[in-house]
């Protein structure tokens, strides 16, 4: 049975982990498992931009891990970018094995607002499910509440739920079953 391997490059509180794993299992029907990987992201650091190149991290993760049919989801504390964009909240291989999510811009402190730990956990869960959705071959969804609705600023994340809408769930079941075959 394939799993979602969760690789945190930061310390995840037990409540956060439980909340995340439950959400992953409910939404993807795949079991989630904590994986502690010796992984040094330094190679992907861009000195000029003071950010990490998320596509390079995805490649590194892919090479580093023993995947079979598993998905791998990295959670990182630092800011991510792809060359063309000023930042990304996360990135995933569309219909591939790897996804990465950064907590850096999910914290209200980044925007000069007071800390809100509960809110950050909710945002993190949504972004993780979102990127995992891409690894299952799903694209952005126009339905407002759907977790696959695209978010380019943080308030947009707050507007959606952590769940796939009916359409996406249907599509997920199809691709999910085809993967297992």
């Amino acid at each position: 049975m394939p799993r979602v391997q969760v690789v945190p490059l930061l310390e995840l509180k037990t409540e956060t982990r439980d909340r995340l794993f439950t959400a992953i299992e409910q939404q993807t029907t795949w079991p989630a498992e904590l994986m502690l990987l010796p992984f040094d992201p330094q190679y992907a650091y861009d000195v000029a931009r003071e950010q990490y190149h998320s596509s390079q991290l995805l490649l590194g993760l892919k090479n580093k891990s023993d995947l079979n049919d598993d998905k791998i989801l990295a959670i990182v504390p630092f800011d991510l970018f792809i060359p063309i964009l000023t930042f990304v909240f996360g990135e995933a291989h569309l219909n591939g094995p790897c996804a990465i999510v950064s907590i850096y811009r999910l914290r209200p402190e980044f925007y000069g607002l007071p800390p809100a730990p509960g809110l950050v956990v909710e945002r993190l869960v949504k972004e993780c499910i979102h990127e995992l959705g891409h690894t299952f071959g799903l694209r952005h969804c126009k339905n407002m509440g759907c977790v696959l609705n695209a978010s380019t600023y943080v308030e947009e994340i707050d507007l959606k739920t952590h769940e796939f809408c009916e359409d996406c769930r249907g599509a997920l079941l199809q691709t999910g079953s085809s993967l297992i075959q």
Partner: protein
């Protein structure tokens, strides 16, 4: 989803291509990539693309050149230029040559997705509305407005301020001061810039024609209405409607306009379907609207409805320091159009330009330079090339004693005589429209 929209990414950097490829695929677009101009042209040969994202700096044929080549064969494709900070000037050049917009690398994700969404919307609108095609080329907007004088700097400040709001603007100034350019500049700097700016010259049309021009008509609404036609209000939906010479519209039209502005809906002439529009209104006039309200020829309620924000354009004679800059701009423009080796103007000729009274303002100046460029010989323009050097009355010398009206009267008579009282020709030379010229002839009681 965005299934219908296809996007071609042209960039020599692989990481950029990959990034954009992934980003757009996640967003549901159909994406292709090309690593240089040559590959891009091949892709365009092979398949239909809606939007092309084009890096301006590439080895071999650069983005600008590629854009030119593509434009030769494909007027439809929406081209978005990608640029680094260093080459924003080139990007602006690309706008003039028909690209839709440009983004500076690296992009803010939100900007990028908005830009593409707008471009996509623009595409679907474009198919429906040919009007839009003409307006892409006006996106750049500001560079035609020329002037270093404090008066013009103040005007440009006002343009920038008011552009971001959605309020109605009245632009006031004499004929030929460039009111339409200002209206376009406001539009191009407003959030509505991806939608059309539609100009209507209210002074040039008879009441019944203006009505169908503005509101459209159904087939058979009147004699000659052989098919259904959209009006300017409909064409300007989500964009800007520019009503020039608003001070000249009839009482009945004033009432109609007020009604539409208040309800944001109307019906086509001869139709009964209610049409809703979302427009921003910019008006222009060379009339004293306050006086017109006092005299009862302009509705007070309409006046208050439109007079939210006013921009006053100074006549050219009040900003003479801009004349050299403007003259040079028009010389460059016509040298290019006429393919003539005239790049300059002699000091004596420039002096004439600076001292001239310019009742027709910038438009008159442009006409004067254009004419001089026709008759002039390289390498520069001379006094004898200018249309008013033969004037037996040196304009500025007597000006100190005469009122502006006196000078205007004399100049108009002079131009009329030179044109053999050909009103159209004289109006062109003066840079004013025929209606205005007739009014002035009446006012000054000029006769053949």
């Amino acid at each position: 989803m965005n299934q219908a929209i296809s996007l071609l990414v042209v960039d020599d950097e692989e990481s950029v291509r990959n990034s954009l490829y992934n980003w757009f695929r996640e967003d549901g677009y159909e994406v292709g990539t090309a690593k240089d101009a040559y590959e891009a042209l091949q892709q365009i040969e092979k398949a239909h693309w809606d939007i092309m994202l084009l890096d301006i700096k590439m080895p071999g044929m650069d983005g600008l050149e590629l854009q030119r080549r593509v434009r030769e064969v494909n007027k439809e494709i929406v081209i978005i230029i990608m640029t680094a900070y260093a080459s924003v000037d080139t990007a602006v050049q690309s706008l003039k040559e028909g690209s839709y917009d440009y983004v500076v690398k690296p992009f803010n994700p939100d900007d990028l997705s908005h830009l593409i969404r707008n471009a996509a919307e623009h595409l679907s609108l474009k198919n429906e509305n040919l009007q839009l095609r003409q307006d892409i080329s006006h996106l750049a907007g500001m560079e035609e407005i020329i002037g270093d004088s404090p008066q013009m700097k103040r005007v440009m400040e006002l343009v920038r301020t008011v552009a971001t709001s959605d309020s109605t603007v009245v632009i006031r100034g004499e004929s030929g001061t460039g009111k339409e350019l200002i209206a376009r500049a406001i539009h191009c700097h407003s959030p509505r810039r991806y939608f059309p700016v539609v100009p209507v010259n209210c002074g040039a049309l008879a009441e019944s024609l203006l009505e169908s021009e503005l509101f459209g008509h159904e087939k058979g609404a009147f004699t000659g209405a052989q098919s259904r036609r959209k009006g300017k209000f409909e064409m300007a939906d989500r964009g800007t409607l520019f009503l020039d010479e608003i001070g000249n519209v009839s009482q009945k039209m004033q009432m109609e306009l007020l009604r539409v502005l208040e309800s944001k809906q109307f019906t086509r002439v001869g139709g009964n379907q209610t049409i809703h529009v979302d427009i921003r209104l910019i008006c222009a006039t060379n009339k004293n609207l306050e006086k017109a309200v006092e005299e009862g020829t302009f509705r007070e309620d309409l006046y208050y409805r439109i007079n939210v924000f006013t921009i006053i354009l100074p006549p050219l004679r009040e900003r003479r320091s801009d004349i050299p800059l403007l003259a040079q701009h028009f010389i460059n423009k016509y040298a290019k159009i006429m393919n003539k080796e005239i790049k300059e103007i002699s000091p004596q000729a420039m002096d004439l330009l600076i001292r001239h009274h310019w009742p027709g303002n910038v438009r008159e100046l442009e006409n004067a330079v254009e004419r001089a460029m026709v008759v002039g010989k390289p390498p520069y323009l001379r006094p004898q090339d200018l249309p008013f050097q033969l004037s037996s009355e040196p304009v500025e010398e007597s000006a100190e004693m005469d009122s502006l009206a006196e000078i205007e009267k004399r100049h108009i008579r002079h131009v009329l005589e030179r044109s053999g009282w050909n009103i159209s020709k004289a109006a062109v030379t003066l840079g004013i429209d025929r209606v205005t010229l007739y009014n002035k002839i009446k006012k000054y009681q000029l006769r053949k």
